[in-house]
Structure formats: C-alpha cells, structure tokens
Subunit: 412 residues, 2 copies
C-alpha cells in the first residue's frame, strides 16, 4: 500500500521573524500521524507572494496532502487567499455559506458585522469553504490533480476545531490509509545516553519494520516504537512483546506505557487511588499547582497550593518558625519537610509536597548557588526530602523542580 504523504506549510512573517511560536504544525502532525498519514516535510515562508507560490508548487510535487495555516486574517498583511486565486487561476467571490456563518458568529456575540469582517466571506471560487466554529476566517479545501490543499487560520483553537470536525474526517474518506502503530515507554529521572547504554542490545535486535526514537525533554526521555505493517493486531502484539522485554531493564524509570504526560500519569494514579494532594511552593511559584490543574477533572485529587514566595508567607500560612528560617535558611531540608507536612495538614490532603530553592538568575550564594533546590514529599507516615543541584537557567530550574516533585509522587 502506498504511503499517503503530507506537507505542512505555515505562512507568516511573524513566524520567520520569530515573533510567534508555531504550535500548529506540531498539533497537525500528531493528528495526521494518528490517521497513518506521513508528514514528510514542514515549511514556513513569509507573507511574500513569490515564496508562497513556490512553496505551493514544491509541496504539490512531493505530497498528496498540503495543509496550509496562516495568512487568512482580515488585515492587509494576510495574502494567502489571493495567492490561492493566482495558483488555481480563479477569482474571489462572496461565498453565501461563509457569509452566513460569519454573520451568525457576530450575532451570537451581539456584535455588528464590520465591513472588514464581511471581506472574510470572499473566497477563491476554486475552493470548498470549511466552517470556522471559533472564528471568522473560513477554511478552504482545494483539489488539483492528485493533491488536496487545505487552508486554515493560524489561530490554534480555530484551526484545531476545523481539523477535528471537518478536515480529518474528510481526509479519511478521500484516501486509503496504511497502518502505523506507536508504542510508548515514558521515562523520568535518567539521561538519554545512560538509557541508551542500558537498552542497546534490545535496541540492536529490533526488527526492520519497527523503529525506535529517543525523545528527550527536560528531566524526561520518551521512547517511541513506530511499527509499520498491514495488520494492527499483529503490530500491537509484537510491540507489546518488545515492551515486556525491555521493562525489566528500565522499569524503575518508567512512568507510563501510553502517550500521556508525567502529570497525566500522576493524575491517573491519584484518581485511581482516590488520594488527594496539596502543594507548598516557593521557587516554583505556582507552576506545580498549574501542572496539577492542567488536567481536566483535577478537582478530584487537587486540594490547592500555598505559593509562599516570601518568608513571611512561609511563616504566616505554613507555620514555619521564624527561627527555623533564620537558622537553616528557607532553602533547607528542615524547612521544606515542614512545608510539606504543614500544607498536608492545613489543606486536609493525603499527600503534601513542597519545594524551596534558588531559581535564579540572582540570589545564589557560595554555599547555595543558583539551582540549589530542596523538595519534599509526605503521606503522613513518612516524609522524604531531596536536594537538587540544577542549572543556572530560571525557567529550567522551575520546570525541572516540578518534574522531580512529580517523580517523587510517582514513587510514593
């Protein structure tokens, strides 16, 4: 069976200038991948007619599907529509279907339709419009020879709704798709090269149709097995067998065998165990709580967090004695253990976690340099603490501290 190839083209000077982060192409890739559509290339070009038209032609010469995002705004720097008109040699006309949904969109919000918004209903005559449920710029579907072009807005939540409700179902109808099966082994607390050393023999023995990828991120390494074939059940069984082979070697580092995040795994664990958690945060400044509440339904297991950034708040809200803060310092085993124990009691949770450290870039001392962080975990019976020596980078230190704390919760 021939693999259906897709290319993603993101349009906008703001992407080339780096003024916005393109999160769309990652999300689109993931969704296409799930359907067995292989993304072979991603390209970003600016709001420049020549570059856009060249990119259209190049992509068409290589791919069955070309997904284009951006350049559909109502403002003058957006030229994607007119480029499609030129590429498909057609004119623009008001599309009644599109005009209706734009009018409805504004009516729902009790707003007048501005003339500039009305122009958003004017579309290349060669396209079928795709409804935009969260915004005013319609999407567009073009077909030429054997290639499908799909144009969507750059605004992520508008594009996502469009993909899920219209584009992906349409593509699954339009193409006969192969079978790709992914298996995940998600690890935390071990570096990529050390992991690779441990599993090198297992990796060397993998069959040709199964590919292993290491996906390192801050504090984590995700292993992905990509299995290609024609029989899903066979691929599932084969990959399951391989996972069971390698688990004995690296089990202690594994937090999930599915595509969920570390905090997703913690959420699952706490929900299943019907246990609740509360946090006392200093250096993470609310990031741990944000992580724990980023999961829908987090109110089942998350009670709350006391972000005690100032020492006086540690004393007032977490009852950390002033003399303890003076004797040991806020960044100490004694303080962080008591923070965890007291937040657990105050918020009536099963588990209490806490951290206190020097995120940087300022605030380091010879004894406690930037990156020094103490973390603690308590379940009411035992309280454990750990000292971390992280980096000089503030953002990394905040995120890594959260990873280490969540890993403590995982180990229980």
């Amino acid at each position: 069976m021939t693999t259906i190839k897709a290319e993603i083209l993101t349009i906008g000077d703001e992407i080339l200038f780096g003024q916005i982060l393109d999160t769309n192409s990652q999300w689109i890739s993931t969704e296409l991948d799930k359907c067995g559509i292989r993304v072979v290339r991603k390209t970003s070009v600016g709001d420049n007619r020549k570059d856009i038209l060249t990119a259209f032609a190049e992509a068409q010469s290589r791919a069955d599907i070309v997904l284009v995002t951006g350049g559909l705004g109502p403002t003058n720097d957006d030229i994607t529509k007119s480029c499609f008109c030129e590429y498909f040699n057609c004119g623009e006309e008001i599309n009644e279907e599109a005009l209706k949904s734009i009018t409805d969109f504004f009516a729902k919000r009790g707003r007048e339709l501005t003339p500039i918004n009305r122009t958003q209903a004017s579309l290349p005559s060669a396209c079928k419009p795709i409804q935009n449920y969260h915004g005013t710029a319609p999407g567009m579907w073009f077909e030429q020879h054997n290639t499908v072009f799909i144009s969507m807005p750059g605004v992520p939540f508008e594009m996502k709704e469009m993909m899920l409700t219209t584009v992906l179902p349409q593509l699954q109808k339009h193409f006969t798709l192969p079978i790709i099966h992914h298996r995940w082994i998600k690890t935390v607390g071990i570096g990529e090269s050390f992991l690779a050393d441990i599993i090198k023999d297992w990796e060397a023995a993998l069959p040709a149709h199964i590919k292993l990828a290491y996906l390192p991120s801050l504090g984590e390494v995700k292993l992905r097995l990509t299995c290609l074939g024609s029989n899903l059940i066979a691929l599932q069984q084969e990959s399951e067998h391989l996972v069971q082979q390698v688990l004995p070697l690296i089990g202690e580092y594994v937090y999930a065998l599915e595509d969920i995040s570390l905090v997703g795994a913690i959420a699952k664990k706490l929900t299943t165990e019907q246990r609740t958690i509360a946090a006392a945060e200093s250096c993470t400044g609310g990031f741990v709580a944000h992580q724990l509440t980023s999961i829908a339904g987090s109110s089942i297991y998350f009670k709350g967090s006391i972000v005690a950034y100032h020492n006086e708040v540690k004393n007032q809200l977490l009852d950390i004695p002033v003399d303890m803060l003076q004797t040991h310092g806020a960044v100490s085993e004694e303080v962080v253990k008591l923070m965890a124990e007291n937040v657990r009691i105050k918020l009536k949770s099963d588990i209490g976690i806490a951290c206190s450290g020097i995120a940087g870039p300022e605030g380091g001392t010879a004894e406690k340099p930037v990156g020094t962080v103490w973390i603690a975990y308590t379940d009411g019976n035992k309280t454990i603490a750990k000292k971390l020596l992280l980096s000089t980078l503030r953002e990394n230190n905040i995120k890594l501290t959260a990873v280490h704390l969540l890993n403590m919760v995982r180990k229980g």
Copy 2:
C-alpha cells in the same frame, strides 16, 4: 546593501510526527532578526538521509546561512553528522578539542565518560567544532562557496548558549549586515479586526519601507513596525513619530511600546511603583502566580498566592464564609471580591487579585456555563470585579483569565 538570507533546518522524525514542539527555530529567528539577518524559510525534515541531503542542497541554493538543529544525539536515530560527511565529502575523526570538553563535562558532574558519549567527539573533518557548554554534543561550523552551515543540538538550552556565545558573534564578523529596526505597540483587550478598523487610515499612510504586522495571541494583539534602511537614528525617529501618531487612537489598550510580555509590563509597573501583589486563585490553579514569578526578580513585587481549588480551602485559608459560598456559589462577584480583599490582607500586599470560574470541560450549568469566570482586583481603597464569558476550552480559559486579571492590574 544585499540582504543576508538565512534558512533554518530542523531535523528529526519527532518533529514531523509531532512528538515534540520545535521552539528552537522561533528563538533562532528572533536572534537573527535582531542582527539584521533575514530568515527566508524554515524547513523540518525527518531522520532520513535523502531528505536531509536534499534540504541541505535546497537551502544552500537560496541562503547565505543555513542553521541546522537536531540529530546530534549519541543514539542511533541521529544521523546529522554522517549526512554532513556525505554532503561535504569528508570523513569523521575524533576531535581532540571536542573530546576534551566532553570529558570535562562529565568530570565536572563526577560521572564516567561512557563509550557512547566518547563517539560524540567524533566529527566531520570539514567542520570547525563549536563548544557546547550545557551538553555533550558539539556544534559544527562549515563553509562552502558563499554559504555557512551551522549545526547545533536540538536541546534548546544547549543550542541557545551555543548561539549566544559563539554562532551569533561569528556571523556578525563573517557578514556585513543591514539595518532593521522594529517598533512595538502591544495591546490587550481588543480584537484584531476592531483594532484594524480604528487604525486603517494610519496604516494606509505608512511609507513603503515600513511594514506593519498584526500578531494576535490569546487576548492580545501585538503591532510590529518593521523599518528597513541604512540610518538607524533616522529609522528610530521616523518610527517614533508614527507611534506617537497612532497612540491617541488606541492608547487605552496599549500595555507596552517595547518587546516585553504583558506580565513583563506588570512586573515593571509594580517594581517602579514599589507595590506588592498577592493572588487568590481558583480556576487558574496557580497559573497567575506562575506568570507573575516567571519574571526574574519577581520576589520584589510578588508575595505569594493561595491556590484555593476546593471550596473548603477558600473557607479555611481565605475566610470565605460557608453560607456565602452556598448562597452565591464559588463563581460569584461576592466570593471573588472577598477572595481578593482577604488575600491582600493575609499576605500583607498592596494589591490583591482573585479569580473563580468554570474552566471546563466539565462543571458547567445552565446558569453558569463552562467559561464563566469572575475576576477581582483590590488596592485596599476600591475593589472591582468583572464577569468573563470565555470559551469551552480549558487551557484557553485558564490563560485568558490570567490575561484579563493582569489587564486589571495594568489599569489599576
């Protein structure tokens, strides 16, 4: 003067499969842009020899500088080095300089050098190595005809350090660069099309060498003027004049005239006014505190946050009377105002902010659907509250609530 053109090439199946988000190319773009190097295209290809070599050749045919990230890991799925050997028709050899810094890297961390890490010192003979201060994979600098190829690791903080300490200074020596001047007008609380309507005459009158871009993000629209010329001072004066022309029209929405974030502007304001802030968060679950502490030096203005996710925590830690929670519900003007007032008193801050809402996807009612959020601000004299009707998307609702709260702080 000829514009120096750059292309960014990111390598890795994980990018095409969408398993990681490419934040590198955005950051690289921003840094190149500051130096007056124009990024004309970004491309991502997989760990596939043919695709990588094709991308090298295409980029070389268009650009003066080709920046490549990824595929330098010690593991078998990383083939960037061998592709460079093939492209520049050279062999690989142990580079003593690189070997030394890798050995030092492990020594510093009290770790043995694993054989797999030793291979990272083996580099194409055609390259000059670039030191990696935060990791083990060296960068590589190649020159051929009039194009410079730079290869860097995919790990963001390793790549960034390499760019700042070595790559950018070298590029500025190697090329004669033009002058690009950017001016920013950052707005919050007005939609792109409404903003465009207000400033359309001003926009229409912009000179040819000054380009306006609208950069919308959740709750915000950033306006960027890109000015090209040969005299920086003249460009600065001209753009300043244009900014002063448009400000009277949109001043109430403008939070900054420089390239800082909304929270960055708030941090600046609070630091200058020497005022402190504390938050009481329900639906944002710590995200507001995380935002306020994402800025280095935030301990000057940020006291802390009480993330009161459960009603009992609202009652215990924020003294919200149980009967008030029962009568009006946690998502109400009365509760959110009292949350702001009480957190301000408890944490002894000048300003108190609070929010309570239904982030979703579950938990909505007919009377209070998902996306219903109450936010409040108090400075001790006046307390103001506002009801928001946001989306059905949990992540957006959390982020938008933070934007609206920060905007309340901006307005004071």
